[in-house]
Symmetry: C2
Subunit: 191 residues, 2 copies
């Protein structure tokens, strides 16, 4: 029997930061291999191992009756022409969904299925994207100055499969071309 | 196999309102029997069947791999000394949780277990309350002027048991005494 008691945590509705919980930090050096332009990546890490994103793991039990939740905050920046982004992942239990609700900034969600369907949804403050089960997903900040902040929730038993994306990558990349976010084929994608 | 495609809906981060989806409305007349002061309730309904709360049902499939989500918006007001509130419910699959994230206003969550544990958590903008499985929950607006708005998420298969609360009520009521929110025993609670 579940004998959890209710909890309260705070997440700033602009920045996503919490006074009562500590985020997991993902500085540039933890994203080796994720950006297409490796020279630009190496130069950037050497110059300054800047923060790319942070998110919370609230330690909710990993069962289907629970809902993992928290905020994620992606900083503005680019490596070469590719925007700052999260690693991206499938859920280990593949057919589990996730909902993201944008609190501030301008970015979006890159999604793809194992069968090769690809969707990009741009998001601004107030937009909620529902990532259905089976869709890998990556958050991308397309602003050149503002953080991209979202509240997220997913089934407790979902689990995270980072390995598939780490090995194969996403089929598409989101890059800045002529000052605009542009979807291109990933030249390094491993089919 | 799940063949849903990703969706995007908007929910204003202050008001919870959506330009792309319609909320479910709960005016006063739909809450007959929920407030302790029946004379005050009847007088209020006769005078003006005011809106008490609205929430969204986004039609997410009712399976454990999905996450139902949306916003809820509770207006300010009282019936007698009792604050405007939602009906409150257990989940049909009792051991399923729900997370609420406050976007604006000042209110809170009344919670109780079948065994009689009671918890009240006051919330303001930026506070997230995790309602674990087995806890009935009701949202209450304690501001006298502002809407109380939250983003919520719960497992798709949770279901709603409104009947238990409709019949028995919650063990405690939240009323205004000397201008302050005060927890009192529910004189009509059916044990």
């Amino acid at each position: 029997m579940n004998d959890m008691t209710p909890t309260l945590f705070d997440f700033d509705v602009e920045t996503g930061a919490s006074k009562t919980a500590e985020p997991i930090a993902r500085p540039l050096s933890t994203l080796k291999g994720y950006f297409a332009d490796e020279d630009a990546f190496n130069a950037a890490v050497t110059e300054d191992d800047a923060m790319v994103y942070e998110y919370f793991d609230m330690g909710v039990p990993e069962t289907s009756g629970n809902v993992a939740y928290g905020t994620t905050r992606i900083r503005p920046g680019k490596i070469g022409e590719e925007y700052y982004m999260t690693k991206g992942h499938f859920h280990t239990v593949l057919d589990t969904a996730e909902v993201y609700y944008c609190l501030s900034g301008n970015g979006g969600m890159m999604m793809e299925t194992p069968e090769g369907k690809v969707e990009w949804r741009e998001m601004k403050k107030g937009d909620a994207v529902y990532v259905p089960g089976r869709w890998a997903h990556r958050s991308i900040n397309i602003s050149d100055s503002e953080d991209f902040v979202m509240f997220f929730a997913f089934p407790g038993h979902a689990g995270h499969d980072y390995g598939t994306i780490e090995t194969k990558g996403f089929r598409k990349l989101l890059v800045e071309r002529d000052g605009k976010p542009t979807l291109i084929d990933n030249p390094r994608w491993q089919g």
